[in-house]
């Protein structure tokens, strides 16, 4: 079985994001970019499936600007076999919407015929939490979102999902789209020799036009603004003072 893993290049999760003063978006100049953390978990899971003999090939795909090559190389260094870059924008500030990403991914799936697509649950830049579900819809496949456990059993997958009330386990028919949550695994670091090896692994470059997908956004960004700030309050010296303030000043007890 082939496993396809879509990976997104995003601002590193440790970076304090700054909104541009003119409201046109967030500042991406000289900002550290990394693979979306959920996608690292998806890549890790795919590699483990290969190590267990369940998968025979792991293909990673990224859609966006040319620089997403670096993200794909990281995935190759972790252990993916092959990468596809779909160039869909020139400007790093242009985010491709989940619907367009899902349409391109659906075309990639048509060509590659994977038995499983492992997506991240959410991209930590747009926080949309949509692409995997949209891809499953376009393909008419089953979906299992927010996975914290995944077992492939023949032509089905048993997936435990993190939901509001606790955990839900479902069985989906393969091929399917699974989106991964934080607790699924802990991604490995790429070793230096593997980083060197990754440079020689195949990375195919395509464009959105090659797939005939229109990536024009459906949502126009009117403006981007800073959230209302929250000021630090006061330090209290003791538990007694805390209780007194909560009762008398804040009125919440």
């Amino acid at each position: 079985m082939k496993v396809l893993v879509p990976v997104k290049r995003v601002i590193d999760y440790n970076v304090k994001v700054r909104v541009r003063a003119d409201g046109s978006g967030v500042d991406l100049a000289n900002v550290k970019m990394s693979m979306n953390p959920f996608d690292e978990i998806a890549v890790e899971e795919a590699i483990r499936l290969k190590e267990k003999g369940v998968a025979d090939e792991v293909v990673v795909v990224s859609i966006g600007v040319k620089q997403a090559q670096e993200t794909l190389r990281t995935a190759l260094a972790m252990g993916a076999d092959r990468a596809i870059l779909v160039v869909a924008a020139d400007d790093v500030h242009q985010d491709i919407e989940p619907l367009a990403v899902a349409k391109i991914l659906a075309k990639v799936v048509e060509e590659e015929k994977p038995g499983l697509v492992l997506c991240g649950k959410q991209a930590i830049d747009n926080d949309m939490n949509a692409t995997g579900q949209m891809l499953a819809a376009l393909l008419g496949w089953a979906q299992a979102t927010f996975a914290s456990e995944l077992k492939v059993e023949g032509d089905t997958a048993l997936v435990t999902r993190e939901v509001d009330g606790g955990l839900q386990t479902i069985k989906v028919k393969l091929p399917a789209v699974v989106t991964v949550d934080l607790r699924l695994n802990e991604p490995r670091y790429a070793s230096l020799p593997n980083i060197m090896k990754a440079k020689k692994k195949p990375l195919e470059e395509k464009t959105a036009a090659d797939y005939g997908v229109d990536v024009t956004p459906r949502l126009t960004v009117v403006k981007t603004s800073e959230p209302e700030g929250r000021k630090a309050g006061v330090k209290v010296g003791s538990v007694d003072e805390l209780i007194q303030k909560l009762k008398e000043e804040a009125g919440v007890l």
């Binding site: 601002i11 926080d127 509001d164 009330g165 459906r218 309050g233 538990v239 804040a250």
Partner: protein, 308 residues
């Protein structure tokens, strides 16, 4: 303008608070029909009909809808969609599972976690873990939105909307429910509680976490946790507060042994009053706390429990 609101139905019961908060947002867009779907949904529909300002309640009952699986629920919504300009749901894990599937089937974008309604086409939503607020205008004929419940007050009761049965599309059989692991609890639900007490990695162990639970019980509060506490096995996953967990905005949020990473702040910084207990006076949580207590939690928390 006409709005279809997916009621939050779990095991035949309506989650009234989440549904009523999404209803407040939905009513800004036009007359609202609430859809209650499930293996059993009649009781939920009766509850939904009592919410203020609801035009109509649709009830869809079928075994295939029993465990909120995405495929049958999305198919049902798509079958109803042509009569509506907006399809809305509270931003729960169920809705986040279902709505993007609905949107793709309708060839429109989904707009997740809406925190503000500017007009019928224009919405505000947080991005980058709430470090920026984006205002977006949709050009799609049908808008599919999930509503961040922590930013809307629930609508009141007092309605008496008519209830209508709707047909359920044939099941696809793509997925099958196996089991739910839900911890029963007498505590208030995390996203609707007036007080939340959360523990982080500083709490140190699952046994120590009982101290956090004890403090919560003393205050009639819900219990939350940081990701580090959940990953370390001190607390179950459904207690996680943050960018990728639950978003809460109680009257009082008490963070114990939590450093205050942006991913955690994303889930609680709209709380009315924030208290932080941390032994590190430099911890970033103090930058958002109204009342900060620099102390060892193993002393401060038992003392709090005793003195409250």
């Amino acid at each position: 303008m006409a709005v279809l609101l997916l009621g939050e139905v779990t095991d035949g019961q309506l989650a009234v608070d989440a549904t009523a908060k999404a209803l407040t947002a939905a009513r800004k867009l036009g007359p609202v029909t609430i859809l209650c779907a499930g293996a059993k949904a009649a009781d939920a529909a009766a509850e939904a009909a009592k919410l203020e300002g609801v035009e109509k309640v649709l009830v869809a009952e079928d075994d295939s809808l029993g465990h909120r699986l995405a495929e049958p629920t999305a198919a049902l919504i798509v079958a109803l969609a042509k009569d509506y300009t907006h399809i809305v749901a509270p931003a729960t894990t169920d809705a986040k599972n279902i709505l993007p599937r609905v949107a793709a089937l309708l060839d429109v974008m989904v707009i997740s976690d809406v925190s503000g309604i500017v007009d019928a086409d224009t919405f505000e939503r947080p991005i980058y873990a709430g470090n920026a607020i984006q205002t977006v205008k949709s050009s799609d004929p049908i808008k599919v939105l999930s509503i961040r419940t922590s930013t809307f007050d629930p609508t009141g009761q007092g309605g008496s909307a008519p209830i209508e049965k709707v047909d359920v599309p044939a099941a696809t059989g793509l997925s099958e429910w196996v089991e739910d692991k839900v911890a029963a609890s007498d505590r208030p639900e995390l996203t609707s509680a007036k007080i939340v007490v959360s523990g982080g990695r500083g709490v140190g162990s699952k046994e120590n976490f009982e101290m956090i639970e004890k403090l919560a019980d003393k205050l009639g509060a819900a219990v939350g946790a940081s990701r580090a506490a959940v990953d370390s096995g001190y607390a179950p996953n459904d207690w996680q507060v943050g960018q990728t967990g639950k978003v809460v905005a109680p009257d009082l949020y008490i963070a114990v042994g939590i450093s205050g990473a942006i991913q955690h702040l994303a889930g609680m910084k709209d709380s009315k009053v924030i208290v932080a207990i941390n032994k590190d006076e430099e911890a970033p949580i103090f930058q958002v706390a109204d009342y900060g207590l620099v102390a060892d939690l193993f002393q401060a928390v038992p003392e709090l429990i005793e003195k409250l």
